[in-house]
């Protein structure tokens, strides 16, 4: 009679990587709903196309690398990457944007670095940044939200959207700037006046028509993930706190040089998506609690700095990638104090012989 040999523990908790990823997918739904409600079905189409392409790319690369395809597909990580990229892309962007973005996310950012768990950068953000730099025109056009449409104008329907995506059929009056974009282009108006003159702000409650609800949607999803203990609160909270602090500091009483109100920064652009779905990507973030606080704060500050003083209206992708680079460095100096030790030792310390 021979029994199975295994190292303890013999009991195992119920969570699995696939569970974690499924929860993340589930948590994107409120945000996606808000996006669809205000900007039409473009984001849904994006998400579906990106998700599909991501899984396809993943399978192809696994095949090439001679790894078990189904085993790895079942962890849903590729799907998550695709979905997150899809949420970040402007609605109704051409199909080749989706293909290039997803392809570079999965192949370049993930598998060339060794696949799941080895990528130093957030794959979705790598894909996004590649697109943003290569195709700035396509990437900075965003659909106009439902509230600012002209009288009689309607949201883009799924069919005309698909037509535009696949066959470059023209869409009328669907594009416009984002609230952050508009704010950036402001160079002489007081904030008050700018808000009054632009319908995008005028029809909004706090930050920008549609955008505020999208962000609230992602915030809800993020809270759900926190509740499910999928990740710890450290990164998102410190990132949001940093953005809040920066925007309070540089609000400048709404002068023409104002950096924008805290509301604008917290509730427009990709702030909440970034805080809860991008910055929390465990693979590419710092590992300890203290490290994650620093990591999140770094992203928050960078987001604000690039938004206000940089060249791009939104900056979550750049900020995340920049902090990805810094993550190992943060890790070295934020090893927690171990039980029985007087103080934490930096990981760079040479072991005593």
């Amino acid at each position: 009679m021979a029994f199975m040999k295994a190292s303890s523990p013999h009991a195992h908790g119920i969570t699995s990587t696939a569970d974690v990823m499924q929860q993340v997918l589930l948590a994107t739904i409120p945000g996606l709903l808000a996006l669809s409600y205000f900007f039409g079905p473009g984001s849904v189409i994006n998400v579906v196309m990106c998700g599909f392409t991501a899984v396809l790319c993943e399978a192809a690369v696994l095949k090439l690398r001679r790894r078990p395809v189904m085993f790895f597909l079942q962890d849903y990580s590729a799907l998550v990457t695709g979905v997150l990229l899809g949420l970040a892309l402007p609605p109704y962007c051409p199909w080749w944007i989706v293909a290039i973005g997803t392809g570079s996310a999965i192949i370049l950012a993930k598998h060339l670095y060794g696949g799941m768990g080895y990528n130093p950068f957030n794959p979705a953000m790598v894909g996004y940044v590649i697109l943003l730099i290569s195709f700035p025109v396509e990437m900075t056009q965003w659909a106009a939200p439902r509230t600012v449409l002209a009288e009689g104008q309607q949201l883009v329907g799924p069919l005309s959207g698909l037509g535009h995506i696949w066959f470059d059929l023209p869409l009328d009056g669907y594009t416009g700037a984002t609230p952050l974009d508009l704010f950036k282009q402001n160079n002489s108006l007081l904030v008050e006046h700018l808000y009054a003159s632009e319908p995008l702000y005028a029809t909004a409650r706090w930050a920008g028509a549609g955008w505020e609800w999208v962000n609230i949607g992602f915030l809800l999803g993020g809270c759900y993930l926190l509740y499910r203990k999928i990740f710890t609160w450290h990164t998102p909270v410190s990132m949001l706190a940093a953005i809040f602090l920066m925007s309070v500091l540089f609000y400048d009483n709404g002068s023409s040089n104002s950096g924008g109100s805290p509301w604008l920064h917290l509730l427009s652009g990709a702030t909440m998506l970034g805080a809860f779905f991008i910055a929390t990507d465990p693979v590419s973030s710092a590992v300890s609690k203290r490290g994650r606080l620093i990591y999140g704060a770094g992203i928050g500050i960078l987001v604000y700095v690039i938004r206000v003083w940089g060249n791009y209206p939104d900056a979550v992708a750049f900020a995340v990638l920049l902090m990805n680079i810094a993550a190992p460095f943060i890790d070295y100096y934020t090893v927690p104090r171990t039980y029985g030790h007087v103080k934490a030792r930096p990981a760079t310390e040479k072991s005593d012989k």
């Binding site: 190292s7 690398r65 001679r66 078990p68 085993f71």
Partner: protein, 205 residues
């Protein structure tokens, strides 16, 4: 003087450069003397990394001489008892590319060995005692010899001189006290029992 320099930009640049060079050279020279780092001499560090079997397979009469030789520029891949691990650590220390073990000097052995004297066959010739680099063999002329197993480095040097071939190199048996868990296989090999990884397929090609 200043006027002259201002009038001759070429000369003034030359003077500036030279004076800079002299100043910095002096500073650097002073620093080199004053703040010299007294580290372990490299030979000590190398010696500490070598396995101390004193087997002489590297062609030097012991580990320290070999450490000296490495410090003087000899190849670092001549130590079979240390194996690839030692080569890697030495390469780390010297900041060079780690070569593979030079098979000319012997092969790396998986198991550790100790010498064992079949005592009823020993004739007491003391040759092994003289050969042992770490004095790990006890005995006297015409008396049976025996190996102090805990001190034996497994260097093999006593086997050859024995006139009656009564010395065996026995593998060290593992016991419960020195048993250890083995490292689990990487996840992708456990995943589906496929062996193909980037490494193995590369090696096969």
């Amino acid at each position: 003087m200043i006027q002259f320099l201002l009038d001759n930009p070429f000369l003034s640049a030359l003077v500036a450069l030279v004076s800079l060079a002299v100043t910095f050279g002096a500073v650097l020279g002073y620093a080199a003397v004053q703040f010299k780092v007294e580290g372990d001499p490299i030979v000590e560090q190398l010696d500490a990394l070598l396995p101390q079997t004193q087997c002489g397979q590297c062609g030097y009469p012991g580990c320290r001489p070999y450490a000296q030789a490495i410090a003087d520029g000899d190849a670092i891949n001549k130590c079979p008892p240390g194996g690839q691990a030692t080569i890697n650590t030495i390469a780390d220390l010297l900041d060079v590319e780690a070569p593979t073990l030079d098979e000319e000097h012997g092969e790396e052995s998986e198991v550790k060995k100790v010498a064992y004297i079949r005592e009823d066959e020993c004739i007491g010739c003391t040759k092994c005692i003289q050969a042992c680099p770490v004095d790990a063999i006890l005995g006297a002329a015409k008396q049976m010899h025996t190996v102090i197993a805990s001190e034996c480095t497994g260097c093999d040097l006593c086997v050859e001189p024995c006139p009656v071939d009564c010395i065996d190199m026995l593998p060290v048996e593992s016991t419960v006290s020195d048993w250890k868990w083995h490292k689990p296989e990487p996840y992708y090999q456990r995943a589906s029992n496929i062996i193909a990884s980037d490494k193995t397929s590369g090696a096969a090609a």
